[in-house]
């Protein structure tokens, strides 16, 4: 049974283009080679053909609606939003919050009453560890959850780590680049939309 299960696990849609690739195929944003590959795949894969048709319907769905209707619905949905976009409060209004490993800068963000500080330390071989600390006046708010760092380059896998009991976290083995930091605690989701980790000058 494990043999068959393994086959299924590995082979199920193993060569299907990702939903992101299908999306860019839909928009005509793929290069000629990629476009041809996806087009060929679509001829034989009913799953992907259905996904593409579904995406096209979904994107087209609201075009008939007025923007005011759409906005009214979005406002209703807004009541349920629990996302907080962190705002940089130090060391100034830099266009891109940036950290360098050697300078021991600390960036401080405000997220509606919760403070988030991050700093970067070099590990020694061109890689860095991002340390973060959440600070809340309410005890226990940040006792569980996780921190997730997503690189803008799709080739780099996201990294994730649980928050410790004090709302701290460490994300090791990072390369310089542009990242997005997301901290999820039970009652809130805080996002730092863009964060640059810079190499030594």
């Amino acid at each position: 049974m494990e043999f068959e299960r393994h086959l299924h696990q590995v082979l199920y849609r193993f060569d299907c283009p990702s939903p992101d690739l299908l999306r860019d195929y839909y928009w005509g944003y793929l290069l000629a080679g990629e476009r041809k590959q996806v087009g060929t795949h679509l001829v034989t894969c009913s799953h992907c053909a259905a996904e593409l048709a579904d995406l096209a319907r979904f994107v087209a769905a609201d075009r008939a609606e007025s923007s005011s209707t759409l906005l009214a619905r979005a406002r209703q949905a807004a009541a349920q939003v629990r996302l907080i976009v962190a705002q940089l409060v130090s060391p100034g209004l830099s266009p891109v919050p940036a950290l360098r490993g050697e300078t021991r800068d600390v960036l401080l963000f405000d997220a509606e009453g919760v403070a988030l500080s991050v700093n970067l330390e070099q590990e020694g071989t061109g890689t860095y560890t991002l340390f973060g600390q959440m600070l809340s006046p309410e005890p226990g708010v940040l006792a569980s959850g996780y921190a997730r760092l997503i690189a803008r380059e799709e080739e780099i896998d996201p990294v994730q780590t649980p928050l410790d009991a004090n709302g701290g976290f460490a994300l090791p083995n990072l390369r310089p680049g542009i990242y997005q930091l997301i901290v999820c605690a039970p009652d809130r989701r805080i996002v730092v939309p863009t964060l640059a980790l810079k190499a030594e000058p």
Partner: protein, 227 residues
């Protein structure tokens, strides 16, 4: 427009007017966020459109608030990663940018659906049992672990005797079709579900033997084997 600070752009973008005169300000926010990687502009883009994206996601996913928030975040991340300056240059206006953002919500939900489908299939595949003791197949298990999906697929295809088996492995493994549904789609090849099981068992036993021995046939060279 260029001289306006991010907060001024955000204020004008938020002040929606029926004539659409607010849209250039919203577009400029996107432009600075994408081209200049301006953190504050990303901040305002999130603030301005998070609820809308969440609404889009909520229409297509289970009503679990946590899952909706996860997928909304993933939609923004996909947009942040994918909507490059060349794509922005091709946008005819704010509507195109928002449509792309909406399609990111669609692809985030599609990705989640794929994961859910895979989990369901794995749970249901127990019915597709060949009489076996899992521990007896350590050699082929080890061989499979060393293979990429593409290599494993080529190995499976190489073990096929004829078109019927090729069709079966495609339907069973790549497309995840359940055995009982295969005769409905291919009654000529598989008149009955018992045919599906019989052909499948023969093929899998053959694959096991080859994997265990490490002597995979060349693709299409397996006609001499008796299943």
């Amino acid at each position: 427009m260029q001289e306006l600070a991010a907060f001024q752009l955000a204020a004008r973008c938020q002040n929606k007017r029926p004539d659409g005169s607010h849209e250039p300000f919203c577009l400029e926010l996107f432009r600075r966020a994408i081209l200049e990687n301006c953190s504050l502009c990303w901040h305002y883009v999130y603030c301005q459109y998070y609820a809308l994206v969440r609404y889009w996601v909520s229409r297509r996913s289970p009503p679990d608030p946590d899952e909706i928030d996860d997928l909304t975040q993933e939609a923004f991340t996909a947009f942040w990663r994918s909507y490059t300056s060349d794509k922005l240059a091709r946008a005819r206006g704010l509507g195109d940018v928002l449509s792309y953002l909406k399609s990111c919500a669609g692809s985030a939900v599609a990705q989640a659906r794929r994961k859910a489908e895979r989990a369901i299939l794995e749970a249901e595949w127990d019915e597709w049992v060949v009489d076996s003791d899992a521990s007896a197949y350590s050699a082929e298990a080890a061989a499979m672990q060393r293979m990429s999906a593409q290599e494993l697929w080529e190995a499976v295809e190489a073990c096929c005797n004829g078109e019927r088996e090729r069709v079966l492995v495609r339907l069973m493994f790549r497309e995840g079709l359940k055995p009982r549904h295969i005769p409905e789609q291919f009654p000529d090849l598989f008149p009955d579900v018992s045919d599906v099981y019989r052909v499948g068992r023969n093929l899998l036993e053959r694959l096991r033997r080859h994997l265990a021995r490490g002597d995979m046939p060349e693709n299409g060279q397996n006609g001499h084997l008796i299943g």
